[in-house]
Amino acid sequence: MPIQVKFFASLKEDLPNARQQVEASEAATVEEVWYAATQLKDIPAHIVCSVNHSHEQIHQAVKDGDEVAFFPPITGG
């Protein structure tokens, strides 16, 4: 089962062509999921990452079936 990739808010609008699935063979970490999904080299420093609904850092390992999300700074409340 591939890694599911989600983008939210302004990032979703800025990256309309980003892939929503990445094979685990293409990416071992959150950072590598970003590269594979967006074809962009660096994750902007302000971008927030999560794996399976939990905040994580870009070097967090990922595996088949994980849900990885990228989003801009949170502005709720």
Partner: protein, 145 residues
């Protein structure tokens, strides 16, 4: 200690009272609320509408974690978080956080913690519609302290 993400307008007082009715009367001596409401001006511009996006699943999970963290730090009897998503109009409530405790110190401090943690950890994003018709994503929160 429930969390609710709601798509329609809500009445914070009614939400607080409805949940409070499930608690045992006399067990709590303090109830502290925070209500966040949509303003008509942000960063000097007139704002006429707002769209609130969230991350279904993660948002609710993170709100529960925030309440659990508060319960580790203060003696709280119960807590409630209600947060709006979707389209909002000025003057409508965005968020309600309520804490019930025996004494005011725990209620005041825990409800403050819930709001500050929510604003940095729970995935919600605001998109404003300005009076001239432009839209823009809010890029950062105002400092709470």
């Amino acid at each position: 200690m429930p969390v609710e993400v709601v798509t329609g307008a809500f009445d914070p007082a009614a939400k607080q009272q409805a949940f409070e009715a499930t608690l045992t009367p006399g067990t709590f001596g303090a109830t502290a609320n925070f209500i966040g409401t949509m303003r008509t001006v942000n960063e000097g511009d007139d704002v006429v509408g707002m769209y609130l996006e969230h991350y279904p699943g993660m948002t609710e999970t993170e709100l529960q974690k925030i309440i659990a963290d508060a319960a580790q730090q203060w003696r709280i009897i119960d807590a409630l978080i209600v947060h709006r998503v979707g389209e909002l109009e000025p003057g409508e409530p965005i968020v309600l956080t309520t804490v019930w405790s025996k004494h005011r110190k725990d209620a005041f401090e825990a409800v403050r913690y819930l709001m500050e943690a929510l604003k940095s950890r729970a995935p919600f994003w605001k998109k404003e519609t300005l009076a001239n018709g432009d839209t823009r994503w809010v890029e950062k929160n105002t400092p709470g302290y």
